[in-house]
């Protein structure tokens, strides 16, 4: 298996040759030293001769194949399209940092040739080494990133379990940063996950703790109380790499890189340490670095991206070092020393959670900002709202007077922890946990409230979504003196949830009589035969309507799709989607 590639490498595959033979480290684990000889373009840091290791581990199927840099003779820096180069524990003569060669389309296009990876090991070895040789040539020419490629961040590397920091930067925010005078300050990080390693940058402040900018976060992040994570930020002119595509690996490298931006890391750490000791904070600190990034290489910057080092351990008030008196001056000296030390940095995973970045997996772009009133947080309403929130309908006010009962759970979007809680409040809390910009509010109130001055107006909303299944609600919509045009949508299922009835109309009034009559006619026409009422359970003869969770889910999906289409300007209508006998879905307008 190994021979074909070995004989090929004797003569050389592009700039790559192998002069020695395979070494078997243990059963099924082989390595072959490789040498890459390239002619570097001027100004490129890829060495003219570099040592690598071709590694085959047949402990799994298919066998793992790696090409890793030699600990001594390797390039030493991380290059584009390469995992972070760092030393892992172990006696092997190689480092971590494999060039990314495996996926031909996702990253490279056909830069290394567009053949997909073959199946047999012998072919895979040749395929891989051919692509590696091309990677070396491009690295030497400095052409691994070409203008027009998607911008890619340097790999973080090193830390086994990095913390995750979400920030909120839109293209519009770039000007705020580049034209503002503040270049450093403090940032409030709030915890967002039960893993207690995910945080969001709630607000950006000056060094004097004056608010500079609070992004448009949703309710969860906005209202979360600040944890005691000491965090500061610096705005840099450029991405903080020290050469090739390598982030600083140690505090010393970081100090040197920051000096180029006129930032003194030693002083910063001393000041930060002193302030933390004053406030009795002993948790490790976080330092965030922001810099403008383009969407594509070669383009103008389009927004700020942040990177952060976490686990910055500054001197504690009670720490004692032999030979030094426990004074504040000495503690600051120790913090300054950290900036010059070879201690490894812990880079945190930083992600942009702005609306246009967090929902890129969606097929369609996020809908325009619509304020929605959802009346009814039952099985259908809760699941429709969930889908809408995930799609980017982030302003949803929910009205329902009911409390969640255990019997609801078999069809509802809410869970056991919410039993006994008002459905509207519980659903709003749930929705706000779904997306970082979720701004749902729940009210334990009927709709509409009739006050001394008549029914409440709900003119803040663009969309009125009825998921109550009740005619009296539709009739009450007629009573409200709407001041502007609304999109009225009503969704309900029929007996047994064998169909979804929908209504939509636009206008400054709601045609309640027309809507109820047409919807009821559809409901009666499509009412399945021989399906009895269910009762709540032994001890309570309250009737409940029969429907399966699977069906409710289907109709909630159809309903959410209908709402999104309507927000997108779909035609008004009234009708029912229903199951045919073979479970295909039919549509009848009513």
């Amino acid at each position: 298996m190994l021979h074909p590639v070995t004989s090929l490498l004797r003569t050389g595959v592009g700039p790559v040759t192998a002069l020695e033979g395979w070494k078997e480290w243990r059963r099924g684990f082989f390595s072959l030293p490789l040498v890459a000889r390239v002619t570097s373009s001027p100004g490129q840091s890829f060495p003219a001769e570099s040592g690598w290791h071709f590694i085959v581990s047949s402990g799994s199927y298919p066998a793992d194949i790696f090409i890793l840099p030699d600990r001594v003779a390797g390039p030493g820096l991380t290059f584009p399209h390469q995992a972070a180069v760092y030393h892992r524990d172990g006696k092997e003569p190689w480092l971590n940092g494999e060039p990314c060669l495996t996926n031909p389309t996702a990253v490279f296009g056909d830069r290394y040739g567009s053949f997909p990876e073959p199946i047999t090991l012998a072919d895979r070895l040749i395929w891989k080494v051919e692509r590696f040789s091309r990677w070396c040539e491009l690295a030497a020419a400095g052409r691994l990133h070409s203008p027009g490629d998607y911008f890619e961040l340097p790999p973080l590397g090193g830390h086994a379990d990095p913390i995750i920091i979400g920030f909120h930067e839109t293209e519009g925010d770039l000007v705020r940063w580049t034209q503002g005078s503040a270049r450093a300050g403090v940032v409030r990080l709030v915890s967002v996950s039960s893993s207690s390693k995910a945080f969001a940058a709630q607000s950006w402040r000056t060094t004097e703790d004056v608010l500079l900018h609070a992004p448009e976060w949703g309710a969860l992040i906005k209202n979360q109380s600040t944890g005691e994570i000491p965090a500061i930020w610096f705005l840099l002119k450029d991405i903080p790499i020290i050469g090739a595509w390598q982030l600083p690996r140690t505090y010393r490298e970081l100090s040197e890189r920051l000096a180029a931006e006129a930032i003194n890391l030693a002083d910063t750490l001393a000041v930060l340490g002193r302030s933390m000791r004053k406030r009795n904070i002993s948790r490790p600190a976080v330092i965030m670095f922001g810099f403008p990034v383009p969407r594509f290489f070669g383009d103008a910057p389009s927004r700020i991206h942040w990177l952060a080092i976490s686990d910055v351990r500054l001197t504690r008030k009670d720490s004692i070092r032999d030979g030094f008196r426990p004074t504040e001056a000495n503690r600051q000296r120790f913090d300054r020393e950290l900036a010059r030390s070879g201690k490894a940095l812990s880079w945190a995973t930083c992600e942009n959670w702005a609306p246009d970045q967090i929902r890129t997996r969606l097929r369609s772009a996020p809908v325009s900002q619509t304020k929605m009133l959802l009346i009814g947080a039952g099985a259908l309403g809760s699941q429709v709202a969930e889908t809408l929130m995930r799609t980017g309908v982030r302003d949803i006010d929910v009205r329902d007077r009911d409390e969640l009962a255990a019997g609801n759970l078999c069809r509802h979007a809410l869970d056991l922890t919410m039993i006994g809680v008002n459905k509207a409040a519980a659903l709003a809390a749930q929705l706000n946990r779904l997306q970082p910009d979720g701004r749902a509010r729940g009210y334990d109130r009927a709709f509409p409230i009739i006050g001394p001055d008549g029914p409440e107006t709900a003119d803040d909303y663009d969309v009125i979504l009825d998921c109550t299944g009740e005619n009296k609600l539709l009739r009450s919509l007629l009573m409200i003196p709407w001041k502007s045009e609304k999109l009225f949508i009503s969704l309900s299922v029929n007996w047994g949830a064998q169909g979804l009835m929908f209504w939509s109309s636009r206008g400054a009034s709601f045609p309640a009589v027309n809507a109820t009559e047409r919807l009821e006619a559809l409901a009666k026409k499509f009412r399945p035969e021989g399906l009895d009422e269910r009762i709540e359970g032994i001890g309570c003869w309250h009737p409940v309507f029969p429907a399966d969770a699977a069906d409710i889910r289907i109709w909630a999906g159809m309903g959410a799709r209908y709402v999104l289409d309507q927000i997108g300007g779909g035609p008004e209508g009234c009708g029912i989607y229903f199951f045919n006998d073979d479970r295909t879905i039919g549509l009848e307008h009513g």
Binding site: G376, E470, S492, V493, N494, A523, K524, R527
Partner: protein, 192 residues
Amino acid sequence: MWLPDRDTKKWGRTHPLLQISWTAEKNRKTNKTYLHIVRAIKWWRLEIAEKLPKYPKGYPLEHMVGHLLVDGADLSTAQGIVQVFESFRDKWLLVAKNHQVPVLCDHGVAEHNVLARLSPEDFEGFVEVVSEFAALARQAFNSTAPAESGRLWQQIFGSRFPLPGPSGGDRPVGHFVKPTVAAVPPTSDRFA
């Protein structure tokens, strides 16, 4: 208020508010029967429309009724109808035979003749039919037997005119049916 007269291509003065207030005043002075009488006579006109010329109808007809109806604090609708029919005959039958049309001033704008556009032929035809019905109405009004009276009124106002029932009422027996079960408010067949 000015309205265009498309036939003469002129703008004409109107005063709807005065017309309305005159009608309300007339209704008060006639024991609130005036409007009922106007409705009844318009219904009668529709019932026998094929016998009548196309005009008069609408407001001119209403105006004539108002002109003819004599005020009375204890006037009844039936009495008023009979009186209007008879006055119509007595006052205008000879006028019509002479191929003339009376001049009736608009309540709002005095210089307007409400019947200005009514032709003498139409008016004559109308009065002749009214005269026949005046006698019929008097007969129906004077009859003391309820069944007989009802039958005569039906000849004037058509089959929709309610006949007196055996028990003296004007509604069919058994109209009210006692429900077998208590009423249930209508519930929705929709769920969510």
